[in-house]
Assembly symmetry: C2
Homo-oligomer: 347 residues x 2
DNA sequence: GTGAAAGCGCTAACAC
DNA sequence: GTGTTAGCGCTTTCAC
């Protein structure tokens, strides 16, 4: 119950005014080194940590960043226990970056499809007054949200967004990644490489399809018949894969748009008597725990989720601090992790 | 940049005083239904959401709950990508419960071993002034932390703690779960059942060992030689399992204290030419994604992490609201999920 | 049942 | 370089 110590206590302890303490805390100018030291000593002695709420009330910063994720997808992922570690990687990248600068990242879920997205977002903003907002797919490309934030003058970052727009766009090069995944298979000797697309709701789905197509076109091997529509779900991918295998001239390998899709492809291949990787190769577009522990472990594109979130947080904090020269767009490197699901085609 | 709307705007819109609006927001007494409706209408019309920071400044609540997790373990888990979904389940349980009551849960990492635990915890408290704190293992049993919080008069919950102490203790019945896991194997016909313990750092490790021993003793089958010390890590478990298999009279089944331990046991059994489950059975004490996707999928105890966190959040919020009759201790039910890693012993 | 006044812990703006 | 003043948006206390 001990009354918490405030800036007032520190001021008294150091024999200076409140304002001087505030200046020291905020690394403000116009404080003599000697006084600064005295204040810092008092802060240390008293174990003082400024109240975020009070700083927000008085000043123009809340030291809060708000990460908005899709409600249904996130909860479904948690409930299914399928092991997607998107949220974990986001937390790791975002929280740790925030902590470096005395910020906190608050994680929140909102309905994308809801007619009251606007109300939900505004509610969170009014309650928290965050200094910036981190948007993740599919929110990153949601005009309703981005326009709202732009209108509010609230800095925001769009993770995984390929498209132009307001805010900081931070993404992996999905086109290049799909290109690399396809090249990986072509380099192994495959000539008929299929692709199961992601949901149209995500702009990056198109980018991935493009990268795939370009890699094949560059070698004159593109066949539109080998592209099957998916939506990132297992069930849809099962049907997509089945249709691919039912082609007159089926593929010998496939690039899957995410982990669920890749797992579905693996299942179908097995069901069709095609051993992976000897008779069929698969590249996943997510490197989640479950593809690392599947049998065989899947070759996968690793998205830099933690680095992207850290970059987003960093950009927002620097923006709030008034820094200039923060790049509007950042493309972070991906990795192609070769595991046991890809091999040269048979025969 | 639009100035956000405050309680003042609502008061003007509804033609009442600030205080009346505050009463309505907080479900306070002494407001005529008619006036209440008018205020609520104004709130809805304006899309007003009170500022958490201001509420904290003026009043005695911050509407924030702080969940403290072990820094090293959490980050290691995230980096390894081993698919532990502790954090996810905590978020699901805690966040959703908080959201119901206008609260937020802030997730934070602190060093257990650090000599400055105290400073870290006090810092987070001073910065956030949370209405309650949720402790997870191994913090739940950390006297340094619990005593500090008790002294501060801050309500807190200890998740997964078996031991007596201040705060709300919310746990699964680890003893009963270990008992059930062992019974499951005995019922299948096993007579020599091994156990790989967890780290001494966690009080629940002892509870699990007890439950295991009691189940065997009840049938006169307990053999101390079949208990091998582990610490929840894969490498240590490998050695523990190897020593178990090297016994003159080795076990035909084993109960593993967590998922990494179970995976290590599986690996060792395979290496020793013991097919699971035909020649050897394994029960895991975590039901994380990777044991669900291992080969074979493992029979496991499922800890109710989300329900425990939700119960913790609920207890803290109710405590802050001045409710009485909140149980000091809650034991939540576990599940034993039978999968393909357990079968009757051979011969 | 309702309203007015004071103050929470800080920072912004300005004075010195 | 440093201190003083005002005020952020609420809730608390107390008066009516």
């Amino acid at each position: 119950m001990s009354r918490s110590i405030t800036i007032r206590d520190v001021a008294a302890e150091a024999g200076v005014s409140l304002q001087t303490v505030s200046r020291v805390i905020n690394n403000g100018p116009n404080v003599r080194p000697e006084v600064k030291d005295r204040v810092n000593a008092a802060v240390a002695r008293l174990g003082y940590t400024p109240s975020l709420a009070a700083r927000r009330m008085g000043g123009s910063r809340s030291f809060l960043l708000l990460a908005l994720n899709d409600r249904d997808r996130t909860i479904d992922g948690w409930k299914s226990g399928e092991g997607t570690d998107w949220v974990d990687q986001m937390l790791m990248g975002g929280m740790l970056e925030c902590a470096k600068h005395g910020y906190r990242m608050i994680f929140e879920l909102i309905d994308t499809h809801s007619s009251h997205v606007e109300r939900e977002v505004l509610g969170a903003i009014s309650a928290l007054h965050p200094d910036g907002i981190i948007l993740t797919p599919p929110h990153s490309d949601n005009d309703q949200i981005t326009e709202l934030l732009a209108k509010q003058g609230l800095p925001f970052a769009r993770i995984g967004s390929q498209i132009e727009g307001p805010g900081f766009a931070i993404a992996m090069d999905d086109r290049a990644a799909a290109h690399a995944a396809t090249e990986h298979l072509l380099d192994l000797g495959h000539r008929r490489v299929g692709f199961i697309t992601g949901s149209d709701e995500y702009a990056l789905s198109a980018a991935r399809t493009d990268g795939y197509r370009e890699a094949l076109e560059a070698r004159g091997l593109f066949d539109p018949d080998l592209v099957a529509p998916g939506d990132f779900t297992y069930d849809t991918a099962i049907r997509a894969m089945q249709s691919l295998l039912a082609r007159a001239n089926p593929p010998t390998a496939v690039v899957a748009s995410n982990d669920q899709t890749a797992l579905a492809a693996l299942k179908c291949a097995n069901d069709a008597g095609l051993a992976v990787p000897d008779a069929f190769s698969i590249v996943s577009f997510d490197d989640t725990p479950i593809v690392r522990f599947s049998h065989p472990p899947l070759t996968a594109i690793r998205q830099p989720i933690a680095p992207m979130t850290a970059a987003a947080a960093s950009a927002l904090m620097r923006a709030k601090a008034g820094e200039a020269d923060i790049p509007e767009q950042q493309i972070l490197p991906f990795d192609l992790i070769a595991r046991a699901s890809t091999a040269p085609p048979r025969g």
